[in-house]
Amino acid sequence: MAKENLSDYRQVNEKTKFLVLSIFPVASLILAFFVSDYNSIINGLHMIITQPDVLLTDYIKVGGLGAALINSSLLTLINIYFLWKLKFHLGGLPISAIFTIAGFAFFGKNIFNVWPIYIGGYLYAKYEKKSYNSVIIISMFGTALAPMIFEVANALSPSNFSGLSFGIIAGIVAGFFLPPISAHIIRAHDGYNLYNVGFAAGLIGTVVMSFMKGYGFITEPRMILSTEYDLLLKILLSLFFVILITIGYVLNDNNLVKGYSKILRMSGRLVADFTYTSGFGATLINMGIMGLLGLIYVIISKGTMNGPIVGGLLTIVGFSAFGKHPRNSIPIMIGVFIASILNVWNTSSTTVIIAALFGTSLAPIAGEYGVIGGIIAGFVHLAVTMNVGVLHGGMNLYNNGFSAGIIATLLVPMLDVFRRRNER
């Protein structure tokens, strides 16, 4: 039984939404053949699949820009196809999941290593006698643990079929338990960390890595980053963000501001689906604006575009359908920026820039507790995110989501103390 739609804003049919969602992967697919030839792409994909994927492994450096674009494109299109076949209503949650996949397919998720997580999710749905519709989004986010498959395989029996089998089994087990764990863990931060699976995956990754270290396995930290496509990526992404704003403008009855003030008024705390509250057009406008905002941050910080930064920008764009907007995200970025000036880290380094981009996972704190609360959250986030990666050995691609979960869990009750006092 469908509910009556009481939203004031123009609703868009599902086919149009799917088409809009396919723009980025289809453009990536076409662009790949302009920047690389067929053989380079195949060789690049082989390199991407066979190398470890722990943080930070930039697929643009590992396999070349063409292969990285193809990897992102294929993975994203397959996931869009899943949602289409499952007759998904394309609200803010699936949109954020698709863009997260597209982004992380530039550094850690590839067309080979994600599938065990989906199989685990599918088995969980079968076991619980639920439709896969209810679990697939968690599986999509859960591919944060994709690097674990290679790491477990490598630890147990490198270059051996049995080692790979164990790795795949580990991925399936993680995928199986992620839905109940991520649903449970959300109570810790009360919905103030938008990358909730990152928090759950961080805990799982920490346990797995601790276990592996107990048997003498040490992960090699990686910092493989490309530098050669800085300007090209900035131009292409700017173009994409402007296209999103333009389509949003048209779908919003040729209006840039209608519905937007309603988005800005929301705290962004889970569950905030902008596509329903303000319409698909206004949501696309917000996604484009947030993408440009992220890009401006990269430029101000004098950062160089690479796979992880592209991933950070696309993830911001996705979650701008589901919680993020300029009012609640800018304070977090300011907090990280100030911390990078006052702390030992370099403001223009990739790790600091992605801390600011992914740190907007804490945007609901700024939305709920104001600018100061947001700046404090961002400030603390940088220090924590720089130190928690060692716990899971980079196996959890959402390292910032893990850090944000810890911060939100601690900071929200502290901020609540002052809010309650003000209310008395």
Partner: protein, 113 residues
């Protein structure tokens, strides 16, 4: 405990919280456990809520059912004071009727199993 039962009790808790925060003087609740669905009825008398708040409630409870969001976020429902959980309740239900007259609020929610 069966998650299905916990979800229904969370939905009820959210609605009762909304009524109590509106300073309702008497709140009657009723749950019907039918073969294929739960029917949840809340009647809050002498509630002190603005028309804007009631319209917001009606809009949020009419969010389309989203089983993926429900599976992921259902534990958030029921005990918060910021109001975003009202749309979560909307995502966890298939039909929502909200009527408001003379400071009396009637809410009827249907949740198919």
């Amino acid at each position: 405990m069966n998650f299905e039962i916990k979800k229904v009790s969370k939905i009820l808790s959210e609605m009762v919280t909304y009524a109590l925060m509106g300073d309702a003087k008497i709140i009657d609740v009723s749950i019907e456990n039918n073969g294929d669905m739960f029917r949840i009825l809340i009647n809050a008398r002498n509630i002190n809520r603005t028309l804007e708040s009631i319209n917001g409630l009606r809009e949020q409870l009419n969010s389309p059912r989203q089983r993926a969001a429900e599976e992921y976020y259902w534990e958030l429902a029921g005990d918060s004071d910021t109001g975003t959980e009202l749309s979560l309740v909307g995502m966890m239900t298939d039909k929502a009727i909200v009527e408001y007259k003379d400071n009396n609020l009637y809410i009827e929610l249907h949740r198919y199993k």
